[in-house]
Amino acid sequence: MPESKYLLFLGCIIPYRISSYEISARKVFDKLGVELVDIPEFNCCGFPLDPVNHDVMLTLAARNLCLAEQQKINIMTLCNGCFSILNQVNKELKEDKKIREKVNGYLKEIGMEFKGTTTVKHLIHVLAQDVGFEKIKNTVKNPLSQLQVAQFSGCHVVRPAKHVGFDDPENPKTLKNLIRVTGAKCLDYMEETECCGAPIIGVDDKISLQLAREKLDHIRAVGAQAMITICPFCHMMFDLNQPRIERAFNEKFSIPALHYPQLLGLAMGINPEELALKDLRVDASKLLSLL
């Protein structure tokens, strides 16, 4: 399989509420000469239903993997949750004959079979491992040396370490290095590896918002002008929910959260409008005025 072509697995929340991530990712990969192919007939990765019924999660994920096998192209996700589930199920089905037979039993009913011929990557793996830092660096036209930002990789792109085997979950450096390639400074802050709170929104909004609030507080304390994310759920907590957090805790943050492709796109010299920066809930115009 050629390394410069990926099946783009969009997942659900990106088309539902976070299209700015998709828009900017497509622009940036186009500049890097990476072809993104859309998957026909895909469904939810399965992540939201693991707590409900593990077998349904396995089969929903496996169905998506079968679609990729049919296309003979490896999957790239933009979402940590989709990556986590598709990668984990892909590995389990490849390695565990018992689970594979069970899932293939289910899949037979819909005329599919898992063969184990695809791999699953997240955008950050594709950028760091396949495209490579050198190539990304060569596309940077306007280094963002005026900016100092904070990264948030999120959990599922590094944990559980046993399944992912990428970067150091206790001190993830890949996104930091990708940020540095754009010329921006990446600041360390407290509790960098802690959950954003998104997975329990709807179960207990208060705890969920408290987790995100604490993160914004730590980021503000070190003087970051923006937060950089690589997951639509983390992004939702810091961008869409930031006004809610401000109301709930009677505080003002006004810290824009950018998807990494938006930051890279700016460094590549792509027009902010084309990167859907206006679609962000937290106004990023002050940040843009620094450039």
Binding site: C12, S19, D38, F42, V56, Y106, G197
Partner: protein, 180 residues
């Protein structure tokens, strides 16, 4: 002082042997990812490193694991606290015994659902997936806006296949009887 002590003892005595199901831990240990339930020696690393436990007085992964070992099935499966795990997998990565705590919490959730109880948010997610293939019902206006923004049309999911998968895994039946 004496009063506090007697209260403590009273609380400790609250677990009756009739409440304990000695087979429960074996039942759990058969679920993929939860095999090592018996190896937990209650060190508390999971609770110490749990981001949810910092913001909630009742969610304690160590306690959930001990309750599972003790077979306090009814208490566990009627306790809403199990829905607070954010599945960040910090406990899984940090557990010195490799117990797979988040997987055990998942197993407890699956059993709770099977028994007919689940939070409304999960029921909604399940019914959205059944209706549209996606976890959310995406309004037509947003689908139209995709095209205005130059994004490709969102493919239609194969709803027939999804309904079939819900049926054969038993989820359709569960959803019919579930209370939220």
């Amino acid at each position: 002082m004496e009063k506090t002590q007697s209260k403590e003892i009273k609380q400790r005595a609250i677990i009756k042997s009739s409440e304990m199901d000695p087979r429960f831990k074996y039942e759990i240990s058969k679920i993929p990812g939860a095999e090592k339930i018996m190896l937990c020696f209650q060190c508390g690393t999971c609770t110490a490193d749990c981001p949810i436990a910092r913001f909630n007085d009742f969610y304690r992964p160590r306690k959930l694991i001990r309750m599972t070992q003790l077979g306090l099935k009814d208490r566990l499966l009627s306790n809403d606290v199990i829905w607070l795990c954010s599945t960040c997998f910090t406990c899984v990565d940090h557990c010195p015994q490799d117990v797979g705590i988040a997987n055990i919490v998942r197993a407890l959730r699956n059993l709770t659902v099977k028994g007919g109880r689940m939070p409304v948010v999960y029921k909604d997610l399940a019914s959205n997936i059944l209706k549209t293939g996606y976890a959310y019902v995406i309004p037509d206006l947003r689908l139209k806006r995709r095209e205005e923004k130059g994004l490709p049309k969102l493919p239609k999911a194969n709803l027939e296949s999804i309904a079939k998968l819900f049926d054969i895994t038993g989820l359709s039946k569960t959803l019919e009887k579930v209370r939220t």
